[in-house]
């Protein structure tokens, strides 16, 4: 395997040519992944599978995956060059997260050779979408407190899985999931977990859509009843799931910055939103000094948030501060988003109470955006957890007492409403 790796520049030119010849312009649903209905969504899913296959056939799938697993064996620099050339072009957006990272990344790091061969090429060919199954109903921020149980069948060595997972994005059309389950209840919580690979579309897995208050139904909840998993689909050691889980969450935090992820640079995620100026103008308040103060406050928060990101990155590069400083950014972003949403709501005034079918942004929808505002302080770890991390790990203040430290998991208090 000592063959020479293609230079980034040669590769870039080759990629540019191929992309121009083979890929169309970027589509709105690449950005938001939002579709009008399920039927349209399944069409988009099929198109993403085909696009991923096209990359594979063209020799551009999985640039940083090894060649023997169907990838290209190139470096993160090659991936970055490809992403730059991809700017403005269509791409299989649904594969990026969670399929490539954290799922494929976890298989690459902890999977057996057989598991890698079984799944990495399939993923790169667009045949397998993967979901991550970490959170549980009622589990809140305590991921390691998972109660989905896997019990070994002594006869076959298989594992029998029972329990429920939640907040799995678009699980209803995904092919496989990685699951964190409890295999030992007689040891403290971090010591009795194991990770498994599991086909999602099977009889023992019931997938329910969760409707958010704005009508969105991308989040799912999965109920597993006596799902049989062969031991060959176990990832990592028995009861060693927390070792896997911590890296899993690291790969999750990497998100779209992971070298495993192929996507055009310069994407602006989410829908295009009305600016505070546009909202104030539409509400007839652009000349109102009080409205102008709100506009300026929102703008200032935006500038501060991006400068904070830059400072934390430069601190990390300079070796100042520890990795937990990222919680500072998470907390700030959450609180700033909440304030910005509230400002938009205030600028919109009474107009935020309703909107016509035709209006996709502007004054009217600020009401619904306001209702959803806390999501930015909940998703991806709550601001409460980030405050704990900052206080305890950045400032070194005493840890909170916990009711589960050194206690066999079966004896951990779980409250009146949980089993």
């Amino acid at each position: 395997m000592s063959e020479q790796i293609e230079s980034v520049e040669t590769f870039r030119l080759r990629a540019r040519e191929w992309i121009k010849a083979n890929l169309g312009p970027i589509q709105p649903f690449d950005l938001t992944q939002d579709c009008a209905d399920d039927e349209e969504e399944l069409v988009a899913v099929a198109r993403d599978r085909a696009l991923q296959r096209k990359l594979y056939d063209g020799g551009f799938a999985g640039l940083c995956f090894p060649k023997e697993l169907g990838g290209q064996g190139l470096t993160p620099e090659h991936n970055r060059a490809f992403n730059e050339e991809l700017a403005g072009h269509e791409y299989p957006s649904r594969f990026t997260v969670p399929t490539f990272t954290p799922c494929a990344a976890v298989i690459m790091e902890f999977g057996t050779p057989e598991q890698k061969l079984a799944h990495i090429p399939a993923i790169l060919k667009g045949e397998e979408f993967w979901a991550q199954m970490l959170s549980e109903p009622g589990g809140g921020s305590d991921v390691a407190g998972a109660t989905t149980s896997a019990v070994r069948d002594p006869a076959t060595g298989d594992w029998i899985l029972n329990g429920a997972k939640v907040w799995t994005s678009r699980a209803w059309w995904h092919d496989w999931g990685i699951v964190l389950a409890r295999t030992n209840w007689n040891v403290p919580k971090h010591q009795g977990l194991t990770v498994f690979l599991m086909p999602l579309q099977q009889a023992g897995v019931e997938i329910r859509r969760i409707e958010r208050l704005n009508g969105e139904t991308e989040a799912c909840e999965e109920f597993m009843t006596d799902v049989r998993i062969p031991d060959s689909d176990r990832v990592g050691e028995i009861d060693g799931g927390w070792t896997v889980g911590q890296r899993w969450m690291f790969h999750e935090r990497m998100g779209h910055n992971s070298p495993y992820v192929t996507q055009p640079v310069g994407l602006s995620h989410g829908r295009t939103e009305a600016t505070p100026v546009a909202i104030a103008r539409q509400a007839g308040r652009i000349d109102d000094p009080a409205a102008q103060e709100l506009i300026g406050e929102s703008r200032a928060l935006g500038l501060v948030a991006s400068e904070l990101q830059r400072r934390l990155a430069s601190g990390a590069a300079a070796g100042k501060g520890n990795t937990d400083m990222s919680s500072v950014a998470r907390l700030f972003r959450g609180m700033a988003n909440v304030r910005q949403r509230t400002i938009a709501f205030d600028l919109a005034g009474a107009g935020a109470a309703g909107w016509t079918e035709e209006e996709s942004d502007g004054v009217g929808v600020q009401g619904m955006e306001f209702l959803m505002r806390q999501v930015s302080c909940i998703g991806g770890g709550t601001t409460e957890i980030s405050r704990n991390v900052i206080a305890e790990r950045v400032l070194g203040m005493p840890r909170e007492a916990s009711g589960d430290k050194g206690v066999a998991f079966r004896d951990v208090p779980r409250g009146p409403k949980r089993s």
């Binding site: 958010r212 009080a290 005034g349 009474a350 309703g354 959803m372 999501v375 909940i378 949980r418």
Partner: protein, 379 residues
Amino acid sequence: MWHVLTSDQELLRDTTARFLGDHVPLSRQRKDLRRDPAGFDPSYWRSGAELGWTMLLVGEEDGGGSVSGRGAVDLALIAYEFGRNAAPGPLVDCNVVASALTGHAGDLQKGVLGEVLTGGAIAASVLGHAPWQNPGEAAITIRKQGDDLIIDGTLRPVESAKQAGYFLVTGRSESGMTQVLVPADAAGLSVTGLRGIDVTRRFGAVSFDGVRAPASALVGEYGQAGAQVSRQIENAAVMLTAEAVGAMDMAFAMTLDWAFDRYTFGRALASYQALKHRFADMKSWLEASHAIADAAAEAVADQSPLAAEKASAAKSYIGEQGPELAQDCVQLHGGIGVTYEHDLHFFLRRVSLNRLLYGTPAEHRRLLAKIQIEKEAAA
């Protein structure tokens, strides 16, 4: 709400509470009512009217009457139950219009009032010119043409606009604020339905394109409606804040239960001091909201000199803290708080919507400042 009520008031409140629980439980709102064009059945509204929902601000000579002699207080009790149940129906607008029409001699006014009292018709208020606006900001204008009145302009949001049989239109005329009663089928009047943030309350945009009404459709004097509009807004503020307090009570109670029931890291959420202190803050907002909502209802019922100030204080304080409390409840629930898996969002919707109607917190603060500046100039 009040610590002590008369037995008549308790009966009124409990009857409504039972009725709402039976007819529009959240389980029903979650399923069929949210997709219903009106958000409720006509029979629901008529039965509610029989329970007294639309009569409390109406004089006895017009077929109305209160149970305590203080209509706005009695109505606040009903509105509070609406908030606790996140109940549908144009309670606020029908009462605002009824209060505007009572005591009027005109046939049109008497006829509409009669229909509103029985629940047979819905009337909506189109506040096209509000006391916190400069005349130039009015959305609707009214002018004289011979003996007729000509109405132009568009306003949104208007509650139950698609269901309303009549609109009480407030607009600017060259002589000042003016109110006219217009049937929904008037020529030049059109309604566009809106999607909205509450599940079972419906709103629309109402457009007037040279709508013509006879002088007999005036409510109050031409150009002299300022004082009556202010009183209507005070009544609306009483209902909207009492509703909000009911919704806040429910959101707070279910979140407190949640904190006791949910364990994380082997401890109940309720044992974490950072959360305990947030509950304490919420409790202080909640008690303060009860206090000022009650005070506003009493002052408005008694037409006290402080009625306008207390109504605006309630509307601005609760308009601000109601949504903040509900959002804190969402935060403490986590992701489930913004889903249909849980009922919390019904109350978040209610307090957020009520913040917007009949003057936002910012607008009521400007009103309060205006009053204060006048007072201190006089002193």
